[in-house]
Symmetry: C2
Subunit: 82 residues, 2 copies
């Protein structure tokens, strides 16, 4: 398992409810891919959402987000953290 | 106080030690601006670093990172989180 930060663009105007529902959609299926989404942060003005997860691979993160209806624009392994 | 996610590009090859030292440099001066850096995550291959903070403003985050020697390329207020 490794840590990943993924990024969604084009989310301008996202609301608290929409962020929570999107996160819930990930949580509902993440076990199929052995992914754990931990946090998500949104900038509704710039339309950017960052998601932090633990996952077996970048592809696993991508598949969960795609199946949940909000594919990620970038998925970065982040092996270093403080 | 609000939450911010800032992003540094061009950090390819960053090591665990370098990330820790950069974070320590922020922590050493952050109180001057009433900023609290909470976490940082690095993708050494893509050269991207994400930093999460609590701060009074985007400008305060920018000033701490600049004075610490590693200006941020983007600073996003992230008022929504899950």
């Amino acid at each position: 398992m490794a840590k990943f930060m993924d990024v969604h663009h084009g989310m301008a105007g996202i609301t608290e409810d929409q962020l929570r529902m999107a996160h819930q959609a990930d949580l509902a299926i993440q076990s199929d891919e052995n992914v754990q989404f931990e946090h998500a942060w949104a900038d509704p003005d710039a339309g950017v959402v960052y998601c932090l997860s633990e996952a077996p691979s970048k592809e696993a993160v991508r598949r969960v987000h795609e199946r949940a209806g909000h594919p990620a624009d970038e998925v970065h392994p982040v092996p270093l953290s403080v």
